[in-house]
Chain length 390, copies 2
Amino acid sequence: MDNFTFFNPTQFVFGRDTENQVGAKMREKGFTKVLIVYGQGSVVRSGLLSRVRDSLQATGIPFQELSGIVPNPVDAPVYEGIRLVREYGIDCVLGLGGASALDTAKAIAVGALYEGDFWDFYAGKQKVENALPIISIPTISAAGSESSNSSVITKESIPLKRGIRSESIRPKLALMNPELTYTVPAIQKAYGVADIMSHIFERYFTNTADVSLTDEMCEGVLRAVIKAGPKTLFQPTDYASHADIMWAGTLAHNDTLSTGRQQDWSCHGIAHGISARFDAPHGAALAVLFPYWMSHQMQHDVPRFQRFALKVMEVPEGSSPEDTAKDGIAKLRTYFDSLGLPHSLKTFGIEEKDLDQLVKDVGYNPQGEIGFFKPLKPEDVLAIYQAALA
Amino acid sequence: MDNFTFFNPTQFVFGRDTENQVGAKMREKGFTKVLIVYGQGSVVRSGLLSRVRDSLQATGIPFQELSGIVPNPVDAPVYEGIRLVREYGIDCVLGLGGASALDTAKAIAVGALYEGDFWDFYAGKQKVENALPIISIPTISAAGSESSNSSVITKESIPLKRGIRSESIRPKLALMNPELTYTVPAIQKAYGVADIMSHIFERYFTNTADVSLTDEMCEGVLRAVIKAGPKTLFQPTDYASHADIMWAGTLAHNDTLSTGRQQDWSCHGIAHGISARFDAPHGAALAVLFPYWMSHQMQHDVPRFQRFALKVMEVPEGSSPEDTAKDGIAKLRTYFDSLGLPHSLKTFGIEEKDLDQLVKDVGYNPQGEIGFFKPLKPEDVLAIYQAALA
């Protein structure tokens, strides 16, 4: 186990009708004026936006609104949000909706306290040191943005999808009602399941020794997600499974499962470009890439992939550790198939001729690699993309 | 899953040499003057107290000291600590050592902000609303006090052991170095393992439906503890197992494993009197009582005890669910035996004639019961005590 710092100061209020507590909780925390950041029509149609407005009005908290945030959120609304915060003297940003609204809210919260271009932080030119307090009310279970320390934005003019990480952008308050996720389309629920599982995979595949405690936790949460996932798709008003998936989404990305482990993040790194250039849903890109990433990386640590196969995918012991590992990866792909997830990059309109540019888009470190488990060089990335064109 | 609020704002700094960061971290948090609360000679002999003093002096943070806290901490030092806080204008209390030092530090932090007698909170006459900030540097892995919202103190003049729970007494900062636990005597490490497992048991045995996610987490952490526990006793400088046990002790008691579950706490409730009247180590009392508690409660939910047997104790499936459950309980007792833990109340000098008073000492609710899983009436408590005299 590596030395670690764990700090997760988000206050979670989880369960039915919790969105109605937003005004009261904001007052408790001393926030006085809020910018509500949301996406397209669904939070309006579902009445959620009205309930949030009602709760704020009932407690006398003024608010401004910024709507129209799209999936794979882009930079333009961030600039507009920063302008609103400054014009109205807002002291807190509320992300209402999916990961896009949350990620945009975080970018605004960071940019509002900075005189230059907020993109400096995403481009790695500036380190995030502080941000306005952030509140989250998620309507989809996926990215764990409601309490994570990360945000990903696409700069449209390039286009490049880049992320920031900072303790200062962890939301102070997350109001999480699993019922709000009932009406998410089945395929988006599937993307969410793939995303949640991928967040755990990035932590599970590690070189750190002596991690049996967090291995057990990663495996346990993955098993629970694998069981609950299909229920959320096929029993769209089943509270228990939606609650499991929603809370697992938080645990998967707030480092509860990864204390003292070196994390990898190379598969996310090679998935971002797929979304940026081909508008592929993030969870879909991960669902395609992760099994190929695993096959490519398996030889680096067969026992770990064997353990994954036995304990997470619950396949029977094969004729060799390698066979068991392969069975586990195959069962993961079958599982993703059962949720209707894609299994080829072709799904996104990607062809062989696009791969060179995609390989170049990846955010390599100064050594020209990405990740930590077995760092990927450009030729590894190309090999994974090629396999994933199958 | 029940609705829940989860708030665990402690900043954890975990790993080798982390105690040397105490001054720098205090400064980061804005604390200016600290009362160090510790126990008997071991933190002096080990050099830990010196290192803490050095770190505080290096960052220019003045401190006072309160020493001599004993296991099953009592009320007298709390009054003395409150006096010191007021006399020196102290704004933060550091518990250095075992659960006793931590529990005392919490009582001081609460009492210092209250004009009346601090015992009013423990006697249930006052509700804890605020407290001075608390820092913890634990030297034993057991109670999870380093980040928990609870504190237990014994009033010597009665004697009565009583606890408080409040979000305001969760430490703001916990510096946790597993190496500090190497020199804990083997039997006290065993008490710690029993205590940690008991904290999870109190959460695991629940009537709440649809808790598969947290079931998996409880089971995973219990398996890791069961494996690491003996290593800490028999390989006293093995970092990995001491780190697992130390972090598991935190997870077991900071509600990471119990979000959305109704907890029980009846076994702790009937163990407190054993410690208060017979000076039994808390973990020892729990190690004796929990298997008998389980046997007594098994019929209330055989499938849960069966699941416990299969997934936590990893016994083979028996000829009936009940047999499997019994095998699991028997294996738990064998496991506790292997750590040198006692299995009879006689160990503490308790005789049949003492039981009536012990049954009366229990803190029943207004309905004359204790716990939630299957609430215990006085006759249940007597039956468990009688069985545990075997």
